[in-house]
Symmetry: C2
Subunit: 314 residues, 2 copies
C-alpha cells in the first residue's frame, strides 16, 4: 500500500478530503489510491436520506448525526445538492451546513454538486463513500435533494433508504416520484406538527397496504418526526437499526450487496468510456465541423458518431 492510502486509513482527514477533490477532477492516480483503499472498506453503515425539496432532509440528517455521535460513532455525510444543469448552480457550501458539528473531528461532511453528466453523480457519490469507509467512519449518511433519478440511484449506494416527505406539499405523496416510493425502507413524514401530517402518513400506509404489506419480508414503517425539535428521532434511529438487522438476518442484505457491486462496476465502466470519448473528440480537433454538418443537414448524426467511434477504437 502506498503512503497516501496508508495515511488516509490512519485517519489523515485532510488527505482524505484532498483525495475526494482529486477524484472529482478525474485524476487517474486518485483512482489508483481508491483501488488500494477499497478492499479495506465495507464496514460502515450506509444510510440514505432522500425526498422532495423543502421537507427538512438536512435538518433530519443533522439530527441523525447528533444521535450517532451520542453513541460514540464517527459519522461521514455525503450531501448531494441540486444545481441546475443550465446555470451550473450554487453549491451550498460544506461550511454553512450543519454548523453545530463544525468543531467535531469525528464528523466529516462532503457536498457534491449534481452538475455534469448523468450517472456521473452516482459514481462520484460512490467514490466518496468508499473514501469515507477507508477513513474509518462507522456511519455514512447520503443525503440527496432534488432530481428524481439521483434519488433512485442512491438506493444502490446505501443499505437503508429513508424517504422523507412532509405535509404542505399538496399531495405530498405525489411529490415523491413513483420510483422513489419503491426504494423506501423507512418512510418519514417530517414536520409532523403541521396540519395534514396525519393525512400524509395515512396516504403512505395506504400505498403500503396496496402493495400487500411487507416488501421482501420487511414491513416498511411510516414514522412521524419534527426534525426542528428532535421529536420522533429516537424512533427513526431505532428503525434504522431494525432494518440493518433485517438485512443481516435475511437474504435481502446479500441481494443488495450484489446489486451494489454490479452498479459500482457498470458506473465505473461508463465513466471510463466517457473519458475515452472526450479524448477521441479532442484528438479529432473538437466537434465543431461535425456539429456544423449536422446543423445544416449535410451530415447526419449517425454517420458523424460512427466517424468519432473510429477514433475511439483506433
Amino acid at each position: 500500500m502506498t503512503g497516501i492510502a496508508q495515511r488516509i486509513r490512519a485517519g489523515d482527514t485532510r488527505l482524505g478530503a484532498r483525495l475526494m477533490r482529486c477524484l472529482d477532477d478525474g485524476q487517474p492516480e486518485a483512482f489508483a489510491v481508491l483501488a488500494e483503499l477499497y478492499p479495506h472498506g465495507g464496514r460502515a453503515r450506509r444510510v440514505g436520506i432522500t425526498g422532495p425539496p423543502g421537507v427538512g432532509k438536512s435538518t433530519l440528517t443533522d439530527r441523525l448525526v447528533t444521535a450517532f455521535r451520542a453513541e460514540g460513532q464517527r459519522v461521514g455525510v455525503v450531501a448531494i445538492d441540486p444545481s441546475s444543469p443550465f446555470t451550473g448552480g450554487a453549491i451550498l457550501g460544506d461550511r454553512v451546513r450543519m454548523q453545530r458539528h463544525a468543531g467535531d473531528e469525528d464528523v466529516f461532511i462532503r457536498s457534491l454538486a449534481t452538475r455534469g453528466a448523468l450517472g456521473g453523480l452516482s459514481a462520484s457519490a460512490r467514490d466518496t463513500v468508499y473514501v469515507m469507509e477507508a477513513m474509518g467512519f462507522d456511519v455514512v449518511l447520503v443525503e440527496t435533494v432534488g432530481a428524481g433519478q439521483d434519488e433512485v440511484d442512491v438506493a444502490n449506494l446505501v443499505e437503508t433508504a429513508v424517504v422523507v416527505t412532509a405535509p404542505g406539499l399538496g399531495d405530498s405523496v405525489q411529490a415523491i416520484k413513483a420510483g422513489i416510493l419503491e426504494i423506501a425502507d423507512i418512510f418519514v413524514v417530517n414536520k409532523a406538527d403541521y396540519p395534514d401530517a396525519k393525512r400524509a402518513a395515512q396516504h403512505l400506509h395506504l400505498i403500503l397496504d396496496l402493495e400487500g404489506g411487507a416488501r421482501r419480508g420487511w414491513s416498511v414503517p411510516v414514522l412521524e418526526t419534527v426534525a426542528q425539535t428532535g421529536d420522533g428521532l429516537e424512533e427513526l434511529r431505532t428503525a434504522i437499526d431494525d432494518h440493518g438487522a433485517h438485512l443481516a438476518a435475511s437474504d435481502e442484505g446479500g441481494r443488495r450487496a450484489h446489486r451494489r457491486a454490479q452498479m459500482a462496476l457498470t458506473e465505473r465502466v461508463e465513466a471510463l468510456l466517457r473519458a475515452k470519448a472526450r479524448a477521441a473528440i479532442t484528438a479529432y480537433g473538437g466537434l465543431g465541423a461535425l456539429v456544423a454538418g449536422i446543423e445544416d443537414r449535410t451530415l447526419d448524426p449517425y454517420t458523424a458518431a460512427q466517424t468519432l467511434m473510429e477514433g475511439i477504437e483506433g
Copy 2:
C-alpha cells in the same frame, strides 16, 4: 436512397412505425435508414410540453393536436411516459391516449417508456422525432411526464418548451424542478378554474421578474388554461407561434439549432459506446466473476472496470 426510406418519405405510416420499433431494438439497419432520412427533415415545428405529474399535460397536448389539425397541419406526438426503473412500469398505451384522434390519419402518436439507461431516453425521443419529420408531419409535439432530467433534456429536442403547472400541487412552483423553470419558453397554469390558480400564476410572474424580465430577448408569457374545456388554448396556440417568430427573428433560433446538433451527436456517440460496452461484457462471459470479486472485496471496481475496458479496446 433505399426503398424503405423512400416509402417512409412518401407517407407509408406503417413502415414509419416499424422503423421506430427497429430503432428501439437498436438494429443497425434502422439507423442506416435514419441516416438517409435525416437530411430531408428539419422542417417540422417541434414543441415540448412538460411539467410535474397530474397537471393535465396529456389533455393539453390533446387540445393542441385539435388546434393544429383545425389549421390543416399534420401532427406527430411523442409521449414519454413515466415508468419505474424497478417494476418496468406500465406504459400508457397509444390506443388509450387521445382516442378522439384515433381515426385521423394525419395524427400519429408514439409512446416511449422512460425505462432503461439514462440519456438513452432522450436519444430515443430524438430518433423518433427525426422519423416523424421525414414522414412529413408539420408539427411534432413532445410530451414528457415525470423524471426531472428528461424534462430538461427535452429542451434540447424541441424549439419551444411549454412548461405546465397547476394549482393544488401545494407550492406548485416548487413542484417544477429548478432546471425546468429555466427551460420554459411559455408557462401554462392549467386547471385555471381551480382556487389558487391566480397565486400560482403570480408566483411564476415573480420568478420571471426576479430574473429581470426577458430571457435572451423573449418575454416568457404566463398563460392560464383549462384544458378540459379548451379555455385559454387559443392564447397558447398564439404564444407558440409568437415564440417561433422570435426564434426566427433573433439569433436564439440558430443558437438552439447548434445546441440540438451538438446533443444529437454526443447522445449518439454515448449510445454506440454503451453498445460497445455491452458487447465487451458478453465477450468477457458476463460480469459475474468481476461482480463477485467486488462484492467480497477481493477485487476493486476500478481494476475490474479497467479489465473490461481492455476488452472494449481490443
